[in-house]
């Protein structure tokens, strides 16, 4: 399987997840989107040494995974992109920040190590949050919600159209790549002599496709106006979810839950 086919499979897996039904899937997409954004903002706002404060933030995604019935492991595949990047940056911290912040028995942990772990957790948490959003919300509903949240129409429409053609184009390139590899065994990529024509050929075909697509839109009465799926109005349930989430995030942000519980147990 080549890269494009892998991407296609990933895309269709996300679609399949979003098509399931659960309590979370049934919530208003705007409520989910806003809760996710607030979650990520709160997560990012923790101090780089505040590891214990940050830790309870893990409960929300875990709760969501359980309620929505989405397997946690489906998300970890996606970590392969975020984690190395975050690590590449975070790795320097232990070298430059060597003040000891924590001592467990005889083992001492420097501030750099703490901040590196915090950074990685932030990366994992925010990834889980946006993954959960997309795994419980189909793209068409998300777009309808984006419109309701005043994202410009042209951008939302473009997102919808592009999403549709990402599948088509990726598929075509996957086939082209396969055909290329069959005639060029042992080559890892596209040889320099075909750098321009490989994508260029498809580009030219795509331009014709765009024209036909535009014709197809015109024939169905397109006049600069797109219709989105009709999503149900924002209900009490959605409001409750949103405010519940935001309140919980704020409490976790303002009170060090782990410290608090730990303190109670020890005393």
């Amino acid at each position: 399987m080549n890269k494009m086919q892998k991407a296609l499979r990933e895309l269709s897996e996300m679609d399949a997840l979003a098509q399931r039904s659960s309590l979370i899937h049934g919530l208003h997409p705007a409520a989910k989107l806003m809760a996710t954004v607030v979650y990520i903002v709160v997560t990012l706002s923790f101090n780089k040494y505040d590891l214990t404060g940050l830790l309870p933030m893990v409960l929300w995604p875990i709760l969501l995974f359980q309620i929505s019935g989405i397997e946690v492991k489906t998300c970890f595949y996606k970590l392969r992109i975020v984690l190395p990047l975050v690590m590449a940056v975070g790795l320097f911290n232990p070298f430059f920040d060597r003040d000891i912040l924590l001592r467990i028995g005889t083992v001492e942990v420097s501030g750099g190590v703490i901040s590196m772990i915090t950074l990685m957790l932030k990366g994992v948490f925010s990834l889980m949050a946006s993954f959960l959003l997309m795994a419980t919300t189909p793209i068409d509903k998300l777009c309808a919600a984006l419109r309701k949240l005043f994202v410009p129409k042209i951008l939302v429409t473009l997102l919808l159209l592009t999403y549709r053609y990402v599948g088509v184009m990726t598929d075509e390139l996957a086939v082209m790549t396969e055909a290329y590899q069959l005639r060029a065994p042992g080559q890892k990529g596209i040889h320099i002599s075909a750098w321009g024509s490989f994508l260029g050929q498809l580009l030219l075909r795509s331009m014709d496709r765009a024209q036909e697509l535009y014709a197809s839109m015109l024939l169905r009465g397109y006049h600069q106006h797109f219709h989105y799926v009709d999503i149900r109005p924002f209900g009490a349930k959605d409001a409750l979810y949103l405010f519940g989430c935001v309140a919980a995030f704020l409490v976790v942000r303002l009170v060090n839950i782990a410290q608090l519980i730990g303190g109670m147990v020890i005393r």
Binding site: S12, P138, D140, R164, G167, L219, G221, Y222
Partner: protein, 239 residues
Amino acid sequence: MIEFQHVSFAYEKNRPVLKDLSFTIGKGEAVGLIGANGAGKSTVMKLLLGLLEGEGHVLVDGTEVSRKTLGEIRKKLGFVLQNSDNQMFMPTVYEDMIFGPLNYGLSREETEKRVDEVLETLGIPDLKHRYNHKISGGEKRMAAIATVLAMEPEAVLLDEPTSALDPYNRRIVINTIRQLPQTKLITSHDLDMILDTCERVILLSGGEIVADGAAEEILSNRELLEKHRMELPLSKMGR
């Protein structure tokens, strides 16, 4: 219903694609437009839909196709593209189906009703909320026909409706086409399908009409067909 009066067209000067074309298609007729590659079949379709402008007059229901009447004309004509991927530009089948009706000012409820009716008639209600990029070629073609029917056109134009379909799906599409009560204009190289779905055939060659008559007659005329780079349909070949 559809009338071409002395229509000519050229993409480049001195290289005409259509030369002085005239024909009429009555209401409820099913006409097959056949001809070799480059004979001008697609150009006829595009002129009819107002995607191209040529010389002469093209009339739909007595109204001339022109810039002013485009909206009115296109509302009456449903065009099923050869490549369903180009026809279905929204993520799901449902969204594609509501696109046309809503653009022509139908209310949400009416549109909803129509979508369900059309899917029911075509026997594909389970496709409604499927993703366009995840349905099979045959399903995609049926869905494309559904998006066009949802606009309740008076005439349906189909460009190679059976291309790249397996025999099973091809048969489904043929049966569907046969059941459509609308005026039909079908271009195809699948002459057996034309024979199954159309009572009349127009044979184009070099931008001119070389034959126009009963499908049964023209499609059994080996000499005529072979002269214009065509071949007898399999069912007429016999042994």
